[in-house]
Amino acid sequence: MKLVTAIIKPFTLDDVKASLEQLGVLGMTVSEVQGYGRQKGHTEVYRGAEYSVDFVPKIRVEVLTEESSVDKVVSAITESARTGKIGDGKVWVTPVETVVRVRTGERGTDAI
């Protein structure tokens, strides 16, 4: 089992979600996060005083998946989150030792 984590631009979330649903992904967790990569932040001006805002709002999407569908999930996310401009985000995959469904106690791939 794998955990796919994606950092994406907030306005691409609906597209990412739709493309994952098309693949048959049954659940995901999203959170509002802030950060920066090569894009860096932006500048705001208040009464003539400039402030550099380093951390930019992003969305983190987390999806648990079976080994066999990892590539499909990753490419679905990257394709639907891509705008071609700097700051589109990143996707990474980490191995998962075990998963338990809280309600039933099912373990492993059955719990995904």
């Binding site: 208040y46 003539g48 805002v53």
Partner: protein, 457 residues
């Protein structure tokens, strides 16, 4: 008694009252989220403490019979005794009062209208020392400051001979000097602006200023507050005609015209200097225009008002940058907006005042009056500024050396709301809601549950 005038002044008093909560939001939106409640409270407490003092002796010091030199009123109205059933507003025309004979209103209506001015003047100062003043020290400051600064200055500027009592003598600026100040450019704005500068110097900079970003946490609050201020300002300016007539109409229109012009000129300065017109700039421009037209609103033409607004908006937009060069942390620009705006309006009366607008006024430089009026305006502005600045420095240092004026560094870092009020302004995260009751609340609750259970048995 004129019932139409009475109704208008009563409504105006309520409008001016709303300016103080409006100011609280204007300021509250500009601070960081961790100090929004304290900022709101600094304005709100002025409603409480100034009102109590006004009833006890404040009104009397401002509007009682002069005790000498036009400097201070006596204790004729202490405790507001004997004012029920009295009328005011019989100022003879030759005294230079801007009001018309025969428009009398109940004394109590005038008292409550003027109270609202005292409240907001004290509240205005709070913007200069955002995020760092002990709450009770600030409250004590207000009490002392209105007593020895605002009440006397209001006497100088607003108390006309014979207005609150036959044979009563008023203040020196209104009667002897004859400078024009329709609604409080000197007594309210220059006064509060100079006091703000003095207090910002006494308390010192916020930790981390100006290196750390201290950007406004809620600009919608700021524009809401500016809107409430603009709305309430009609009571402040048009209400100062103290009659529901032509002069109130003049003040209403000039107030609107100057404010509109100041919004535009502030935004143009921002567009040229920073490349973008901002929400904060629009709100600030509106307030700068309102401040500048305040002393002039009953004396200038609509075109004169546009000119005053244009100058005030542009000049204040540039003036708010001064604190970074000079190194004083006037956190929310009380100096840049109120002191500078107040000076602009008070001095420009010397150019734009016209007796065609108000026969009780004077002609300025552009209307054939020469430099005489401009000179008087400058004297009034400078004396009020110097008096307020020096006295505020003294009061501030006295509080600093005795009970202390600033919260601890740790409290300032963590947020003054938690340190001074044991509250937080916002509860956005569901995680923080998971706390459990502790202390007295929990004890009382436990006791109640136990007694209830015992009864059931």
């Amino acid at each position: 008694m004129n019932t139409g005038d009475t109704a208008w002044v009563l409504v105006s008093a309520a409008l001016v009252m709303l300016m103080t909560p409006g100011l609280a939001f204007f300021y509250g939106g500009m601070v960081r989220a961790k100090s929004v409640l304290n900022m709101l409270m600094m304005s709100f407490i002025a409603l409480a403490v100034v009102t109590v003092l006004w009833v006890l002796y404040g009104y009397s010091l401002a509007f009682g019979d002069d005790v000498g030199g036009g400097l201070l009123g006596g204790l004729d109205f202490a405790g507001l005794k004997g004012v029920v059933g009295q009328l005011v507003g019989t100022a003879p025309k030759d005294a230079g009062a801007p009001w018309v004979d025969g428009h009398q209103i109940p004394h109590l209506v005038f008292i409550v209208f003027q109270l609202m001015f005292a409240i907001i003047t004290a509240a205005l100062i709070s913007g200069a020392i955002a995020d760092r003043a002990k709450f009770w020290s600030w409250t004590l400051f207000i009490a002392v400051w209105v007593t020895i600064v605002y009440f006397p200055v209001a006497h100088w500027v607003f108390n006309f001979n014979g207005f609150t009592g036959v044979e009563f003598v008023g203040g020196w600026i209104a009667n002897k000097l004859g400078a024009l100040d329709f609604a409080g450019g000197t007594a309210v704005h220059i006064n509060a602006g100079a006091a703000g500068l003095a207090l910002a110097l006494v308390l010192g900079k916020r930790k981390g200023w100006p290196r750390e970003p201290m950007r406004p946490h809620n600009l919608p609050f700021v524009i809401l507050g500016a809107g409430l201020l603009w709305f309430g300002w009609y009571g402040f300016n048009a209400g100062s005609a103290l009659a529901a007539g032509d002069l109130a109409g003049v003040a209403f229109l000039t107030t609107t015209a100057a404010t509109a012009a100041a919004v535009l000129s502030w935004l143009v300065v921002e567009q040229i200097r920073d490349g973008k017109p901002t929400t904060l700039g629009a709100a600030s421009g509106a307030v700068a225009g309102l401040v500048a037209i305040t002393p002039a609103c009953g004396y200038v033409t609509p075109l004169g008002a546009l000119a005053i607004g244009l100058v005030a908006g542009a000049l204040c937009a540039l003036a708010v940058g001064l604190k970074y060069r000079l190194g004083f942390d006037d956190s929310l620009d009380v100096v840049g907006v109120h002191l500078v705006g107040g000076l602009v309006g008070t001095l420009l009366i010397g150019l734009f005042a016209s007796t065609e607008v108000n026969a009780a006024g004077k002609d300025g430089l552009l209307y054939g009056g020469g430099l005489d009026l401009l000179g008087k305006q400058a004297v009034a502005a400078l004396v009020v500024m110097a008096y307020s600045f020096v006295l505020t420095l003294l009061i501030g240092f006295a509080i600093k050396k005795t009970i202390g004026f600033r919260v601890s560094d740790e409290a300032e870092r963590a947020g003054i709301d938690e340190a001074e009020h044991a509250e937080s302004g916002y509860e956005f995260s569901s995680l923080r809601g998971g706390g459990s009751s502790i202390g007295r609340t929990a004890d009382a609750l436990a006791k109640k549950v136990t007694t209830g259970a015992a009864k059931e048995d």
